[in-house]
Amino acid sequence: MRSLAIVSHSPKRVIKLAAGVVVGTTLALLLQTAFFSNPVQHVHGVEPETAISADFWYDVSDPSLIAGDSFYVVVGRVVRTVRVDGDRTVFEVAVTKELKGSTPDSVLVSQLGKVEGEHSWELEDFPLMKEGHQYVMSVVPPSVHEPSDALILLSAKGMGNKVEVTGPDDPLVSWYADKVRKARTPYPAGASGHRERAASGRQWQETHPGYGSPGLSPAV
């Protein structure tokens, strides 16, 4: 009520008050900066070296478990880097052989990690794929929670996934095909994660022509 009375009866006083508030606020901010702000900066030992360290919930060095958690296992040649999508890099991949499921001849595959400006982020022991190189890739469709047109390359270690090969006739491909035949799910029986994963795959196949897959290995 008091401020209304001021507005209606004393506009000069309102201007003075407003000016006082502005000056006071500015002084307070200056004082804060000069005397109270912590001058400490975030200190890194080596910049701009950056990396990603992941904690995996199952043995991602076992290709049979990765294959069991995948919808598609293909041999593919990385044609080009398409874009950076959040914390992932999207590659165009020409599929040269299918080991699990069926895909179009050309697919998009996203891998955790990226290069942005002078900084790069890579998962430990899982460097970004290189254009022109061929790999065995175990992938899953993205879920409704992460809308994308790119399949997700499952992060792994060692021989678990993204194994580089010379082509579809590389002996490693035969070795991997055997692992796919012996695929087993990492999920315990009845786990909600298994059901969610399976539902995402079914939805992808229904909405993306050219994709077909036996799905996940069954929970046991």
């Binding site: 400490v40 200190v43 910049e47 904690d55 995996f56 199952y58 043995d59 958690d69 969610e196």
Partner: protein
Amino acid sequence: MVTAVVSSVAAAHLTSYPNSVDSSTSPAQIRYSTNSKYTGAVNNAVDRWNAESKVEILPDAWNTVKDLEIGDTYSSDTFHGRFTWNPGADNITFNTRILDGSDWSYEHKAKTALHEFGHSLDFDHNELDWPTSIMRQGKRFQEYLGSHDKSDDDNRWN
């Protein structure tokens, strides 16, 4: 600098990367903010590491510089937690697809948070037997630090 530390503390499992610790304060600090829904697991990790380490892990404040941001994401990828070194504040990210699973208890989430905070304190993965170290990878029912974690912390920070 990090390389020199690794060579002088042979017993500790340290990363070859920078960490989140601000060593220019006394005592050294990690200032963090969180919007993760796994509040209990995060608080447990902060309390357990604070009880052990001379590095203070404290919430970020208006007059401090943030070293670490904690949050959640839904990812179809294989990780349940991850730590990302950045030029600015580092990140701890929990994968809700995994941690919200019907087969994941509070203790599993607590292990994940303890493990990721371990990275922020400079500790690397190891292959030691449970429950010796929280820094071994994998799904684990463990809400406390292992004996090796404590000795690593003594060597690195105390």
